[in-house]
């Protein structure tokens, strides 16, 4: 037998039996601690309501594995942090698997079956891999420490916008201590691992079997040589190893034991959260089951187990905190803090073996762990938080469920209450007569069909803002002219249309939403058409993602809806609309939340801008990182507090920071209203550029007087 075949891991070499037994005792205690902690966590989740996400487990698992292996969500908008995490993650897995296989051999295969594989070439290769993994681990951790200590990132600042200094749960220093304890523990495990390896090499430097293959553990070997250079001899190394061995081993065991009780549990909770992610989270809000008495979340036990799991998955990375428009303008809301508050509440209330009184489970209020009403009403349901969360926490469904309860109890701004009553009474948020919904068509030089009376190819769902707001009516008319010019057979629901309900639902008035959606669905089902189009991204979202759930299952195909951007793009590309002129503007484009983030309609508007000859200069926050105009979630009906910057103004400043743009292009009626207003009220922005709807730019190109040939033909006649 050659020497390398004998080479194996030195494990309990020269340990007295009692020491080995003691170590095993610690090991079992750690595992017991881990199991008990895990049980408590699972019991906590099981105290939540049922959730239907158990289907398609294999596909879900695959999706999770892909996300984790690529680190896709972690690298977004913070590549360095993602890369450092990947180093820690993969190294950790390698080291864990390495250790686990040793246990497998020593404690199971060898005693039971006499099988050993931890030797020879396999062992050498493995020690090389593990040695390098240790480097990855320490390197990644060092970067994370640097990032926390010296980069002063706003997203890692735990200061809460919804609490004042002095409030009982204002202080987040415990989290900070935990973060550091986590980093230090891991890095110490890594470093002592190396020193341990080096001291073992020095100690056994006389044993050729060990010493000759030392460079299969290059880091350990280099360290061993350095230690020897510093004068460490074999017996000193033996003593060092003895002490370190216990230190390293106990640290690692404590780490395992504490997983369920500390942020380390994100290893499991984040994976599970990713696995149960809902791709339509926030885009399609949960229905209230028919049999359920009360709507919305009042108590922590009203959350589903999936919600509770999401709470535990949050790693406090602060990405949602950074992206949130409400937080950016100083409103008392941070999606991260909503999640952390509820998590603290759940840990406090649901960890004991029996549940406290119902009264102590309320998550609404001003106490520790409770969420303020002002916090909930600050949300614009823009989905920036859900979109960027690397571990698939779904904030918006929780926020809306909590709002449902506030609505039931009438805890809202009186003006919002009025608007909801108006929508119930008149079917639109403007309080206008139903009969006036089609009034804008009077300004058209051609009649528009009533889709309820005759079949049409394209049914145009107009939406409140496009139909009633005078400024937007001009855009609406322009789109009608474009459809007409393209020879499109289209019609409207006229006074049969009600507010689509997208924002009513996001306010939390689920009953009113059900009423609006089912009336619109009944009207649509009575019409004959091939597809629906709309210029309103809010209507677009709810008709596309939410109406099918309220419709007769056989008729779900009815809700094939397109936003005007894809409609116009096709009409231009297939030649049904001709651009008679090009615009040479330098423009920037604002992605509407409900078109972009909600429904991934990022490209069509940009292609249209390119087709009409505009040069697009992107704002720093674009596409999936687009910054909400502030109108979402019903906030268009609630005036923003005076003296506080409005999200739309913040956006105007961002655009004003771009070099020489002429036009700020929008593709949503509410955006037009919000930004035209913000442009006038943001100091230093007025006059820098104008706000225009994309439709208006296209109409300008399509409806331009015929170019040169026509002009020439006209010339002789004039002479």
């Amino acid at each position: 037998m050659d020497a390398t075949a004998q080479t194996t891991r030195i494990l309990f070499e020269q340990f007295s039996p009692w020491a080995i037994n003691l170590f095993y005792a610690f090991g079992y205690a750690a595992i017991a601690c881990f199991l008990y902690g895990s049980y408590v966590q699972v019991r906590k989740y099981r105290r939540g309501q049922p959730d239907a996400s158990w289907g398609q487990l294999a596909a879900r698992f695959g999706d999770m594995a892909r996300t984790m292996l690529t680190h896709r969500t972690l690298k977004r908008r913070d590549h360095a942090a993602g890369a450092a995490h990947a180093m820690i993650f993969f190294s950790f897995i390698a080291l864990f698997v390495g250790t686990a296989t040793i246990t497998l051999e020593v404690d199971i295969l060898k005693p039971l079956f006499g099988i050993t594989f931890w030797k020879g070439g396999f062992y050498l290769l493995f020690s090389l891999v593990l040695d390098l993994a240790g480097l990855g681990l320490i390197g990644g951790l060092l970067y994370m420490m640097y990032r926390r200590k010296w980069m002063a990132l706003p997203k890692l600042d735990y200061t809460r916008p919804d609490r004042q200094p002095g409030d009982p749960d204002y202080d987040r220093s415990a989290y900070r201590r935990e973060d550091w304890a986590f980093l230090w523990t891991l890095i110490l495990i890594g470093i002592t691992g190396y020193v341990l390896e080096a001291s073992r090499l020095v100690w056994l430097s006389g044993d050729a079997g060990v010493w000759d293959s030392r460079f299969w553990s290059p880091v350990g070997a280099l360290l061993a040589h350095s230690l020897m250079g510093l004068g460490l001899d074999a017996s000193g190394a033996g003593t060092l190893r003895g002490g370190l061995w216990w230190f390293h081993g106990l640290l690692a065991l404590s780490f395992i034991a504490l997983i369920p009780f500390t942020k380390v549990k994100h290893i499991f909770t984040a994976s599970a959260s990713l696995m149960f992610r809902d791709p339509l989270a926030g885009r399609r809000l949960p229905k209230v089951p028919e049999t359920q008495e009360a709507a919305g979340y009042q108590a922590i036990t009203d959350l589903t187990w999936k919600n509770l799991l999401h709470l535990d998955a949050c790693t406090k990375c602060g990405r949602c905190h950074e992206a949130c428009p409400a937080r950016t303008v100083g409103a008392p809301l941070s999606p991260r803090d909503v999640i952390l508050s509820l998590r603290e509440f759940a840990n406090h209330a649901l960890a004991a073996s029996s549940l406290p009184d119902k009264a102590e489970l309320s998550i609404h209020g001003k106490g520790p762990g409770q969420v303020f009403m002002e916090t909930l009403w600050s949300c614009r349901t823009c989905l920036a938080c859900v979109e960027i969360c690397p571990v698939a926490v779904e904030h918006v469904p929780i926020i809306v469920q909590m709002r449902r309860k506030l609505v039931e109890e009438g805890q809202m701004e009186p003006i919002l209450q009025k608007t909801l009553q108006t929508i119930h009474k008149t079917g639109n948020s403007f309080g206008e007569s139903k009969r006036k919904r089609g009034a804008w068509t009077k300004g058209l030089p051609f009649p528009v069909k009533d889709a309820r009376k005759e079949p049409v190819e394209t049914l145009w769902f107009v939406g409140d803002y496009a139909a009633f707001d005078p400024r937007n009516q001009k855009v609406t008319q322009a789109f009608a002219r474009l459809l007409h010019a393209a020879g499109e057979d289209f019609g409207l629901l006229l006074d049969g249309e009600l507010n689509a309900g997208n924002d009513v639902r996001r306010v939390g008035e689920e009953g009113l939403y059900e009423h609006l959606a089912s009336s619109n669905i009944a009207t649509l089902e009575g019409c004959e058409f091939k597809r629906i189009v709309t210029t309103d991204p809010h209507s677009f979202n709810t008709i596309r993602n939410e109406y099918p759930e309220f419709a007769d299952p056989a008729l779900r195909g009815l809700f094939q809806i397109e936003h005007y951007s894809t409609v116009l793009l096709k009409l231009i590309q297939n030649g049904r609309l001709t651009l008679k002129k090009h615009l040479s503007h330098r423009v920037t484009f604002h992605d509407p939340c409900h078109l972009g983030r909600f429904n991934k309609g990022y490209d069509a508007p940009r292609e249209l801008l390119a087709l009409i000859g505009c040069t697009l200069v992107e704002m720093p926050r674009n596409r999936d990182n687009s910054f909400c105009c502030g109108a979402g979630g019903g906030r268009i009906w609630i005036p923003d507090p005076v003296g506080m910057e409005k999200p739309a103004q913040n956006r105007m400043k961002e655009a004003a920071g771009l070099p020489d743009i002429d036009v700020f292009v929008v593709a949503c009626p509410k955006d037009l209203t919000m930004f035209e207003d913000a442009l006038k009220t943001t100091p230093g922005c007025e006059g820098r550029f104008v706000v225009r709807e994309l439709i208006e730019l296209i109409a300008e190109c399509v409806e331009a007087a015929d170019p040169a040939p026509a002009a020439l033909a006209a010339a002789p006649a004039m002479a």
């Binding site: 209230v288 039931e408 009438g410 909801l420 009474k425 009969r435 008035e509 009953g511 009423h515």
Partner: protein, 264 residues
Amino acid sequence: MKILVAVKQVAALDEDFEIRADGLDVDEDFLLFDLNEWDDYSLEEAMKIKEASSGDVEVVVVSIGPERVDESLRKCLAKGADRALRVWDDAIEGSDSSVMARLLAAVVRKEAPDMVFAGVQSSDHAFAATGIGLAGELGWPHAAVVNALDYAPGARQASLKRELEGGVSQSVTLQCPAVLTIQLGINTPRYASLRGIKQANAKPIDVLGLGDLGVAASTVGVDASLSRVRRMYIPPKGRAQMIEGSPDQQAARLVEIIREFKGA
């Protein structure tokens, strides 16, 4: 202990409405119906008393009108009223406030409440007469335009404030049972969520006919009323005119007009 709240479903005009062929009212197609705004406040006042009381307080809403009125009653039930009554018979059509007061008085005798609330007025007809007429029919103490109330359920007296013209208030104590007409702003009415309104479908609305109240058909309707509508119409546009031009020209024209009126 019982509080009776009399409410009304009022009509609001829709855009471009038309007057009915008989010229007595607006064509119902152009009317939007909703609970009278004042009644939101009187119901809220009753609910506040109910909620503040440790004893058993029943809040009963009553309205006179055809079936469509159920929708408004359901809104009251959604806000927490315990029971709703609707009085109707086709013979009631066209009755004025005096008849309404008589009918409500019959309801009060039947229900025997400890307190009756009504709105100061209804936003469509604005007579401000029904509540006080009811007190007259019953011979009960009454106070109109109440904008603050201190009343414990079952107490023999209530103290309240009344809003008078010119920013003057009056403090009043009166014997109970009594009829109070409640003014806007006395409280903040709660919101009835649509789910709440739907769930209120399960609560009963009792429909009472003339027989149930022991009222003869001859004592209701247009003929039994003390007043009747002769015509409803849109008055001709006023004679206001805009004076155009520069301030000087406007001033000159104004002087001219004043002279014309003075007949100089």
